[in-house]
């Protein structure tokens, strides 16, 4: 390798490292804050010499985070499962059968993506009250499913169009298999890569949801991580060390998932963005 390109590599690598440090700064501040006692008034930049884990235990108990973790887990699990089943099922005819009706329906689902969920807040709230779904897991599950279905259908339809051969379906049909069976036994298993990506994206969105949760899950028994945290912040605005510890606990599950499945995160995004 010649001298100038080697020097260029060192310069660019230094720049990359600098960007990394810059982007890590807020997390560094978060960590130092969480590891300090309330009585420690040192600057947030100073790493604590005697690390205190007590904030984590105190935040866990005071903000009822165990309960919030469970609620968030239940909602995320069921919403993601429904999203995958209903979404893949819907995408199949929309991708494969180019009838006038289906073309219109596909456009309809795509158009829904633009609708901001909060624009319909007032009537949605009324609907949820009338259905008696206030402060239930179902309301969060249904709302999340409805709001991420268009994206799910979009990603599945693109994948089916570009990677699932039509001949496969025709071969199965000659054997006399019904559409439903063809779909679940032959098509769905082939959708595994995109299903993994959609699952990851959906789980992150639903896990982090605050807009729906803050309106419909006010009761402590059903509150999710984000709602628990925003209440906790309101009560402990002058004890940020506790809030920092709670924020780390709330973030950890998705952060671990991300670090383990990083490849799929990146692939999912790329899949959605590359044109067919």
């Amino acid at each position: 390798m010649d001298y100038s390109s080697n020097r260029k590599k060192i310069a660019l690598s230094t720049l990359a490292l600098f960007i990394t440090v810059l982007h890590f700064l807020p997390f560094y501040v978060l960590i130092t804050t969480a590891l300090k006692e309330k009585s420690d008034f040192s600057s947030k930049w100073v790493f604590p010499f005697d690390i205190s884990w007590s904030n984590f235990r105190e935040a866990w108990e005071a903000a009822n985070l165990g309960n919030a973790l469970l609620n968030t887990g239940i909602i995320t699990f069921f919403a993601a499962a429904i999203l995958i089943i209903v979404g893949s099922l819907a995408a199949y005819p929309l991708a494969r059968r180019q009838t006038k009706l289906n073309r219109f329906m596909y456009m309809f689902f795509i158009a829904i993506m633009v609708v901001p969920p909060l624009a319909a807040l007032v009537p949605l709230y009324q609907l949820v009250v009338n259905l008696g779904l206030m402060n239930t897991h179902q309301v969060a599950i249904f709302n999340n499913v409805a709001s991420y279905l268009p994206l799910t259908i979009f990603l599945y339809a693109g994948f089916i169009r570009s990677t699932i051969p039509k001949s496969l379906e025709e071969a199965a049909r000659i054997d006399g298999a019904g559409t439903f069976r063809i779909f679940f036994q032959i098509v769905f298993p082939l959708l595994k890569p995109i299903t993994a990506s959609i699952l990851i994206i959906a789980c992150v969105y639903i896990w982090n949801d605050y807009q729906f949760a803050i309106f419909f899950l006010q009761d402590e028994s059903v509150q999710t991580m984000t709602v628990a945290l925003s209440k906790f912040f309101g009560e402990n605005a002058n004890n940020l060390n506790l809030v920092a510890a709670a924020a780390i606990i709330a973030t950890l599950p998705m952060a671990i998932l991300f670090l383990l499945l990083q490849k799929h995160f990146v692939q999912g995004l790329a899949a959605g963005s590359v044109k067919e």
């Binding site: 660019l12 490292l17 909060l118 319909a120 009537p123 609907l127 982090n208 709330a250 790329a270």
Partner: protein, 298 residues
């Protein structure tokens, strides 16, 4: 006999299979379309959000909205959140992608750290930056004091706080733009560059004439998702400023939330919802159409 089986086969192939998307349709209609249409109806009432009775008052909420100075503050903020974040996320995201697309060390580390905020709740991201920007004991003010300067109250300053929110939103989602641009860059064939090098093209010429046009699809998708995300901004505002001081950093989403739950003004909140829908629709559709046309040209 053979003819009739063929016919059955063909009609089967041409059927819409509408029952397969019926469940999806029900979800969307019930939880998005119906509430949205009902919201238009409520925007013509003086409903307070909980009582059983209300009156239809025609366009009065609409004239109120157009003459309400808060409306314009909120619309201006929403546009700054939407357009400002879109510009910063795309410029930075493209710069990062161009850097990481070369042969550099720390590639995976940089990509991981830049992308990490994407998976964190925007609400929590707001709190994390609050530790940084808060007036009392914030990390930023510690630096300023260390340098012998005055502390500043960035979140309480009505000229700065909206830009802090744009900054935090950019910081959080620049990773998405970066990844999409990286995928786009990696799909550009090396042959183009080699041909250009033979013709003696400079780095800038290569970027302008090869990279940029071929990245147009990535630019379109980034522009559209960033603008929709920015215009819907809610969580991060709640955690950083709560929309204040006054209404100075309120977005349309937080303003509606405040009108409905804080001021029991549901009819007016619904009217603001209609305005928000119209603005998002116009902006995202124009972005989509504009950049799609560019793609065709390129």
């Amino acid at each position: 006999m053979t003819v009739s089986t063929k016919k059955i086969g063909r009609t089967k192939q041409n059927s819409s299979l509408w029952w397969m998307y019926l469940p999806a349709l029900l979800f969307v209609v019930f939880f998005i379309v119906y509430p949205f249409l009902n919201g238009i109806r409520i925007s013509f009432t003086n409903w307070n959000g909980f009582s059983q009775t209300f009156d239809y008052i025609g366009f009065r909420q609409y004239t109120r909205m157009l003459t309400d100075p808060d409306t314009w503050t909120v619309v201006r903020n929403t546009l700054i959140y939407g357009i400002g974040s879109t510009i910063f996320q795309n410029v930075l995201g493209l710069a990062y992608a161009l850097l990481l697309n070369q042969s550099v060390h720390f590639k995976t580390l940089t990509r991981t750290i830049v992308y990490l905020p994407v998976i964190i709740s925007p609400l929590i991201m707001g709190y994390i930056w609050y530790f940084f920007f808060s007036y009392q004991g914030g990390a930023l003010n510690d630096v300023l004091i260390g340098l012998g300067l005055e502390r500043i109250n960035v979140l309480g300053n009505v000229d700065i706080n909206i830009w802090i929110i744009v900054f935090v939103n950019t910081f959080q989602f620049v990773g998405i733009a970066m990844i999409i641009y990286l995928a786009g860059l990696q799909s550009v064939s090396r042959d183009f560059y080699e041909a250009a090098e033979i013709d003696g093209a400079s780095s800038f010429q290569k970027f302008k004439n090869i990279t940029f046009p071929l990245l147009m699809p990535s630019i379109t998708i980034n522009m559209v998702i960033n603008i929709i995300g920015g215009l819907k901004l809610f969580d991060v505002i709640i955690s950083l400023t709560g929309g204040g001081p006054g209404n100075s950093s309120q977005s349309m989403s937080t303003f509606m939330y405040d009108l409905y739950f804080g001021r029991e003004d549901a009819g007016y909140a619904a009217t603001q919802g209609v305005l928000m829908m119209v603005i998002i629709l116009i902006l995202s559709l124009s972005a989509l159409i504009y950049f799609r046309r560019k793609e065709v040209e390129a």
